[in-house]
């Protein structure tokens, strides 16, 4: 594996820039995380951070909404922005020559936004329709609802808010959210691609070096919703969501946790795919993944099955999750390792993927994990280590939610 050239610089105002130089690509990508996500939304005004992230792109610096969009298009910047629970994020990729100009525009967006009153109604209408679309897709709806039932609020709440909250949003609230939350301390900029590290540091210094820090706002957490629940819906399939606690990215056992989930649902030979789909033909889509917040994590499973066979799908899935503790073979673990190795090497071909990874690393760990470090941690895993982890963290405190014509029976010993 090639040695990566990565440098991190943190300014006095608390802003951090992590840059990875990738000489074999022609592009450069960035991922900017500003610590003003939906966790800071007032509970009755959920969706405020999302509205802000939309409004930020509707005029900044000396450009109005159209001029901003055109300037980015002229630079060939493919971009996305949105609010998550902890951050408002901005990501993009372009040819490496244009990265400095692209960052200049985003510095305007982040530091000199218009947040125009006359666009507020339009933005709220867009969010409302996006929420309505989620209502129309039971699988998406399931995930939104499952999250709320497994993570305490506000971590588990959808950043888009809810149809009930949306009328409470105000432009003053959105502008206030910007004033309160947007700050350099805690902001992370990850850049990866064919770039000169020193030049990039100079650009960021010029654009963000004089940004004044602000106090970190706080938020309160409240308990999550009911763990075992069912939503009635006249759908073709019963959609099953299931979650249980694991360890977060920063935990020393994270890679063992990752391997355990990977045995369950990493590839086509993994247990859930084999037992639920291949052997029994119960569903087309079945998956499990490890989802991590800074302080806690969940294994989240999804399966969709026609209604008359949904109970069997739930039963087999639960059985497989519980069976993990009974043993894992060397062969299974080796498959997980091989998949991880490929994925790590292929990451080196994508500036977009690396810029996101280094920004996330800094957020979770306050350091950057090199690909060879990940590789050696994965190589060091053995079956007894992974099994020890499963025994110490058995599937307990399950959250189970279904969406379909009728509820399923959840075995009483796990509810």
């Amino acid at each position: 594996m090639q040695t990566q050239q990565i440098e991190v610089k943190t300014w006095e105002n608390g802003l951090t820039l992590a840059v990875e130089r990738m000489p074999s690509v022609g592009s450069a990508a960035f991922s900017i995380l500003v610590p003003g996500g939906s966790n800071y939304d007032p509970r009755e005004k959920r969706g405020t951070a999302t509205a802000l992230s939309e409004l930020l792109m509707r005029g900044a610096g000396d450009r109005d909404s159209r001029q901003l969009s055109s300037a980015l298009d002229d630079l060939g910047v493919q971009r996305h922005n949105g609010a998550g629970s902890s951050h408002v994020s901005f990501g993009g990729a372009t040819l490496s020559d244009s990265i400095h100009d692209a960052l200049r525009i985003f510095a305007d967006v982040i530091r000199r936004p218009w947040i125009p009153d006359d666009h507020f109604a339009a933005v709220r209408s867009g969010i409302e329709q996006s929420l309505l679309s989620v209502e129309d897709e039971p699988r998406q709806k399931l995930m939104v609802e499952l999250w709320q039932r497994t993570f305490d609020a506000p971590w588990g709440l959808s950043s888009d808010g809810s149809l009930e909250c949306l009328p409470n949003l105000t432009i003053d609230g959105v502008q206030g959210h910007y004033e309160q939350c947007f700050r350099p301390n805690g902001t992370i900029i990850g850049v990866a691609g064919n770039v000169d590290i020193a030049q990039l540091q100079a650009t960021i210094d010029e654009l963000f070096g004089d940004w004044e820090p602000r106090p970190e706002p706080t938020f309160e957490t409240t308990p999550h919703g009911p763990s075992i629940d069912a939503i009635e819906h006249d759908s073709a399939q019963t959609h099953i969501g299931l979650a249980y606690p694991s360890v977060p990215y920063r935990d020393e056992n994270y890679y063992a946790a990752w391997a355990a989930v990977s045995v369950l649902s990493g590839g086509m030979s993994s247990r859930l795919f084999t037992e639920v789909r291949e052997k029994r033909g119960l569903c087309y889509a079945i998956s499990a993944s490890l989802n991590t917040l800074p302080h806690e994590a969940r294994v989240v499973c999804y399966a969709g099955t026609e209604n008359d066979r949904a109970q069997e799908t739930l039963d087999v899935t639960l059985h497989e999750i519980h069976r993990l503790g009974q043993g894992i073979t060397d062969e299974e673990l080796n498959c997980c390792k091989a998949r991880a190795k490929s994925a790590l090497i292929m990451q080196q071909e994508s500036a977009m993927s690396r810029s996101g990874s280094i920004a996330r690393d800094w957020y979770h760990l306050q350091r950057i994990v090199t690909l060879s470090e990940v590789r050696s941690k994965i190589d060091a895993l053995d079956v007894s280590h992974v099994l020890d982890f499963v025994h110490q963290h058995p599937p307990r405190d399950l959250t189970i939610l279904t969406i379909g014509p009728k509820p399923l029976e959840v075995p009483s010993e796990i509810s």
């Binding site: 690509v25 309505l132 679309s133 291949e278």
Partner: protein
Amino acid sequence: MKFRERVLDNGLRIISEWNPLAHSMAIGFFVRTGSRDETTVISGVSHFLEHMAFKGNEKYQADDVNRILDEIGAKSNASTSEEITKYWAAILPEYLPQAFELVAGLITPSLRQDDFDMEKNVILEEIAMYEDLPSFTLYDKMMQAHFAGHPLGQSILGTPESIADLTSEQMREYHRDHYVAGNVTLAIAGNFDWEEVNRLADQCCGWWPAGEVDRSTFEAQPEPGTLVFPKDDSHQQYCMQMSPAPPANSPLRFAAEVLAVIVGDDSGSRMYWDLVEPGDVEVAELGHYEYDGSGSYATYVSARPEAVELALARISDIYDAVNSEGVTEEELERAKKKAASRIVLRSERPMSRLSLLGGNWIYRGTYRSVEDDLNTLQSITLKDVRELLDAYPLGQMTTVAVGPLNSLDGPVGVPG
């Protein structure tokens, strides 16, 4: 980047693009067959067969295929469209021999009866899954309506009835007729050894039966029409419209792609500024879909039920204005920059190059490098866009809607 090709004695064509800077490589078998090559009786067989490919051949059982692909850390999958069934794997170069044997093996599956019976359930689940996705339901119904009477109107998934009735014997027959070497293209992209590829191809594919398959590619002549599928519990109205556009082998296709960016890209387009930015609709986009011998402009709108008719009328106004007045030089230049950036960025990974490499060959019988595509794009002028609009004006010929509305009575435009 270096292109090389070879045709085996049985007609299997190998095309490759070597990139010594890549860390990985991708291989894919592109079979020129899909739902348009089916009859009504066996509707859905191409897609079902694609699933069955992973159940193994004489040497490997299903468990083996899945396990070995995982053991070498391959990212592999398959897909079926109206016209192409493709099987691919992205791998590290050192695993080429194992990956090659397995992926080549997918083309000649055993089609065992017990696997067939079990997989039928998975296919039926997949059909049910898409029923719960309004945008997919809409696409399926759109294709059936717009291409009614043309092979492109045949459903990829089939229906629960056609799948239930399908026999393994019918699938074997379809496989025998369509999976012949002359109907398959092997594409390879990334960092690999050409000699090794050839040795593996001789060994794993040299014995495949020779043969060619004819496909009728007459250009569809759709009739105008509107179909509304009421779905009472839906909140948004989902609407799609199609109209004839340049086919895959038309020199006008680049102009059509640029035009779609100008008029209906998801940001910075005429439809975006007129409909999405003001919040009047959730989505309003225009795309250019290219097929063998036919093509279509596809308009997609997701909006509140009460807003959808007006939105379609406003799109009609946008199309009328473009058809009569064309686009501006500024719009054209901006769209070219956007498109060029997309071409370059999506070409960085061997896996995405593979799709373009295979697709270009199947549809156009040619190799096009990233530079070729960029040069063609740069050469597009307003005159080309005018020529495109004269031959294929933007339109809303066929309309299909899924959502709470029972009918669409608004002014749905039809090009003259």
